[in-house]
Amino acid sequence: MIGDRRIRVSVNGTAYEVGVEPRTTLVDFLRADLGLTGTHVGCEHGVCGACTVLVDGLAVRSCLMLAVQADGSEITTVEGLEGPEGELHPIQEAFLEEHGLQCGFCTPGFLMATYEMLTDDPKPDEDEIMEVLGGQICRCTGYQGIRRAVDCAIDKLGGTRPADVFGAGGPEGPDAPDAPDADPVGADGAGEGSAR
């Protein structure tokens, strides 16, 4: 038995200092330890993209990273997209309006990958868009709706950085406030959302 390691991470602006077993993947940590079940887990070997989150602003597979490796990082998950009153982010609204989701299993990954892309380049060209979307798999909507949703998101944002939509302080925003230490949900508190 290998003992827990203490790690400090900021997830959606909330700071956590918690112990994790070294073999815990970041996605399992987010879902099971923190109860943030918005990030989905599918293939667990990097192919589907359902688990995509932002680590220090970069869209990465959270199934291919250990939680201990995230020590010191800022993580943004789909839960971090909403506004202060629980409003949907324009990227989420765009997916809703353009039928960019059906069952929603793949959606958190598509949203986070799109978020990184539009942070990087508010007006990506067709090749860039297709390359990023190509790294995410959807098994039911059909990709046309998703493709249109990206255009719609670009329009809605109108050049605003995705992090600045709800004013500075959004995820990855320049002035993200240091939230107080929060007690993480215990490992067994993940019951309701952990169906795979």
Binding site: I2, R23, T52, L58, V60, Q69, A113, G134, G135, Q136
Partner: protein, 294 residues
Amino acid sequence: MKPAPLDHAAPTTVGEAVALLNDPEREAVALAGGQSLMPMLNLRLARPDLLVDLTRVEGLDHIRESAGWIEMGAMATKRAVERSSLVRERQPMWHEATLQIGHPQIRNRGTVGGSMAQADPAAEYPAAAVALGAEVRAVGPSGERTIPATEFFLGYLTTALAPGEILTEVRVPVIPPGRGWAFREVCRRHGDFAMAGTAVTVDLDASGRCTATRIALFGVGPVPARAVEAEKIVDGEAPGEEIFERAGRAAAGAIDEPLADVHASADYRRHLAAVLTGRALAQAATRAGRPEGS
């Protein structure tokens, strides 16, 4: 919890990392970007006792030019390489190869050293390294050594790295003015591993004939391999469709036993190798004759 129980160490120096890897008590494995190793851990195809995480080791993520070489630290991510204007301008084939590797979401973490050490037969970097005459630097308990790419890939997923050695740097010669290059592959979907691919450089001599041609095929055999017979067919000849097609067929014909899987039969891979090599030679020769803006 997918991986079997394991311990994780995050050394900050190469020396510490090498010492951890050579711990006689534990089976230790280096962890770079995890884009190949983590799937193996999650599927429990690998069950090491200890992961020696290289992420925090200092001095392993540079991308710089020195004396005609582009030097990339083993832990430089593919995303960093893709965004490096130095690589794009001075080593455009390496840049092009980078863009063919997975998706941005994979390149954000996957590293240069990881792709070389993984030595997937369908991977882009190993083939580009063989075609370009790259070198690999490694540090082990008995010090540092330099291994030419042509001697680095020994077999399917097998390299010349000793178990306790760490790959520290990949160095690739810059493309000199006048050298044409091409990097082409076919895969089911952009970002997937190639079913077949080819990396080619061609120089033109004063009389406009091809010289110093280098062809490396990937995705067709257990390791990226130079197509020496095909190179000989091209050298000394004026660029032309007929000669390039012949060389392509020779390159494909020399593949011992092409890989075969659900995605592509051996015959299809051989066919792709021939066609891609012919086209790559033509593209490289055109670029050689037109160094500006090539």
